[in-house]
């Protein structure tokens, strides 16, 4: 059995992941990544040791009889994830910070530091699976359709896959909670985390105001227009809008209106009908492939947002950018979100929607 570093967020999934690895006879080391500080105390902010997730993870690790450490990744996380999150909104796009974290921060850091601690393998509580085949190791969707998190993991460095373990990917959420209760883990009935971890209030605009400063074009009033240019209203800052959004557009329309586009240059938010929201093609950038890249003409499935179904698409040009022609037009194709390509349950790779 090997020495495994398991990333424990303090939630039930990673708690059970750690427990399953202990059961399997591995030497397990638990770590929690401290990604940011809730404290508003300026300057000497290094001292916040009281994040709930860290405390929960410590209790679970102690129940399991494994060591537990805290990795302080605040500096990298701020640079790679939070700064990108803010910059994307300031450009009128809608970022996926969890993707960014998994691709750039979390797994790379876990692997590097795991190696320093003599760990052969890295584990997390994500609902995905890895399959070791003759053609190498590939990433598969988790068995629980409702919980599958492969959408967030397309950006992993492919060479890492053979080192990764995802013990709960083979289980359903119900089974995970049952396991946690059976093991009397304190996190068994902890509610799902819904929010972005560094936006605990759920209102990301507070964070934007804090980090962009009070005067920034993304937070200044602008007009709401139809695609033909007709002005239909005003808004308080385009950073508050995302493609497909219905709320915050004011009333008085004959049919439901949705955000079609955010134009940072003119501070305009473009709105239109449900039909206008549909797009037949998508361009994807910052590509990462976990298998051999697809080639022009391949039929694949693409998932354009978390919890959306993967829909048929045909690969157009592939290079630094990827062009996909969608089998059926899809609503609210959102710049900044991930487009993840699948072959059945297998993750081929993905990128950011241009």
């Amino acid at each position: 059995m090997s020495r495994v570093l398991v990333a424990m967020s303090g939630g039930v999934d990673s708690s059970v992941a750690a427990a399953l690895l202990v059961d399997a006879g591995h030497e397990v080391i638990g770590v929690t990544m401290k990604t940011f500080c809730y404290s508003d105390i300026p300057a000497h902010g290094k001292t916040c040791c009281g994040l709930d997730g860290i405390m929960d993870a410590k209790r679970v690790a102690s129940t399991l009889g494994i060591p537990h450490y805290v990795f302080d990744v605040e500096e990298d996380f701020t640079r790679d994830v939070i700064d990108d999150f803010v910059a994307e909104y300031a450009r009128g796009r809608t970022p996926n910070p969890c993707v960014r974290c998994n691709s750039n921060t979390k797994f790379r850091d876990l692997l590097a530091r795991g190696e320093a601690l003599g760990c052969d393998r890295i584990a997390t509580g994500h609902y995905v699976r890895v399959e070791h085949g003759s053609g190498g190791t590939t990433l598969l969707r988790g068995l629980d359709d409702g919980k599958d998190q492969s959408y967030f993991l397309w950006g992993l460095p492919p060479e890492m896959l053979p080192r990764l373990l995802f013990p709960v990917g083979e289980l359903t959420k119900t089974e995970v909670r049952e396991q946690a209760r059976a093991l009397e883990l304190t996190t068994a009935d902890k509610p799902e985390s819904q929010e972005i971890c560094f936006v605990p209030t759920g209102d990301y605009r507070d964070l934007l105001r804090k980090r962009l400063g009070p005067v920034h074009p993304a937070l200044e009033p602008g007009t709401i227009v139809r695609s033909n240019g007709t002005v239909v209203g005003e808004h308080a800052g385009f950073a508050g809008f995302t493609v497909g959004q219905r709320r915050g557009l004011g009333g008085g329309f004959a049919e439901p209106m949705f955000v079609l586009e955010v134009r940072p240059d003119t501070k305009e938010v473009v709105v239109g009908t449900r039909d206008e929201l549909l797009g037949a093609a998508v361009t994807v950038r910052e590509l990462n492939w976990l298998t051999t890249p697809p080639t022009t003409g391949d039929d694949v499935r693409v998932q354009l947002r978390y919890r959306a179904p993967a829909v048929p698409a045909t690969v157009g040009d592939v290079g630094a950018e990827l062009r996909l022609e969608l089998g059926n037009a899809q609503p609210a194709i959102t710049p900044g979100q991930s487009a993840v390509l699948f072959d059945g349950d297998r993750v081929l790779g993905g990128g950011r929607i241009a």
């Binding site: 401290k34 001292t47 040791c49 320093a116």
Partner: protein, 383 residues
Amino acid sequence: MSSVYLDHAATTPVRDDVIAAMEPYLTARFGNPSSAHRWGQEASAALEHARARLASAIGARPSEIRFVRGGTESDNLAIIGGVRALAREGATPVLLASAIEHSAVLEPAGWLEGRGETELRLIPVSPDGNLGLDRVSDQLDARPSLASVMWANNETGLLLPMDEVVSWARTSCTVVHTDASQGVGKVPIDVGEVEVDLLTATGHKLGGPRGCGVLFVRDGIEIEPLIFGGGQERALRPGTEDVAGAVGLAEAIHLAVRDLEASGPRMAALRDRLQGRLLDAIPGLRLNCGDAPRAPHVLSLGLPGIRNGADFLMALDLEGVAASGGSACHTGAAAASHVISALYGSDDPFATVRLSVGRASTEDEVDRGAEVVAEVWNRMKSP
């Protein structure tokens, strides 16, 4: 694999004789010292005996001893209460603190400064223990001032020149506070010889219970309280007294000071043995403050070629050796501490590991510790 605890500067076990001294005051003699009846009298007598015992261990008068709840509280009381008492004179007091003070001093100092209650000046310190007092002395004699300089630095063991601080302070009538949490029981301290005005000590660094501390307040020195209630501890620290804690604290300090003549050289010999083995095993090793006078129990290493000191400590722990990076108070922090930055610059390329011995440490333990530190260093050093 045998495990080795080399982090006694973080905390150290309570001595059996201290537990024995405390036990009656947790059980049979449970009285409240403020009560007039004989239960109260018994508790009150124990408290005053403890006060006298503690006072005599550091050369103070019993009336100068205030029992508080730990070292951090004692530091906060000295800094905030000291500055506020000086402010009664009208002018904004100047607060001078060495750049390597514990956060229990620097945080309240920064907080006061942020509120406009003081002008904070940081006293630079060099790795050989020199204080840049002349660089912070500008126009000091015209203003009320408080200086806080620790007796022994918690991260490096560096002993600061308290004699020099006290004589310098006389010229400007500066009130002198010293955080002696890592000094009492480790080096001789007598407030009759080195005439500081305020002194902080804590129990759990020398075999006493946690959550028990003391502030020595020289007769005639004024301190504003931070909390209010009954009049306990001369109204400086109201609240029903922790008699057992005070008894334990006084006993621990008494024993540590009594044994110092033997235990000081013994700890220093263990520290030197550890240091010698590591110098042999790790080329390019820097001993932090290695050329300065140091408290006998702390060895601070500047490890070459280690990118992340936090990872190094985890690796040590997995091999069964307990150490810390500088201070034990910053969970998982990867960056260099403010102490190392102040001494060696913020871009110091060395990773800090603090090893510290206690009264029960053995040669076998430090040998094993040295072996593991060297092993892990060899494994983790960048090529």
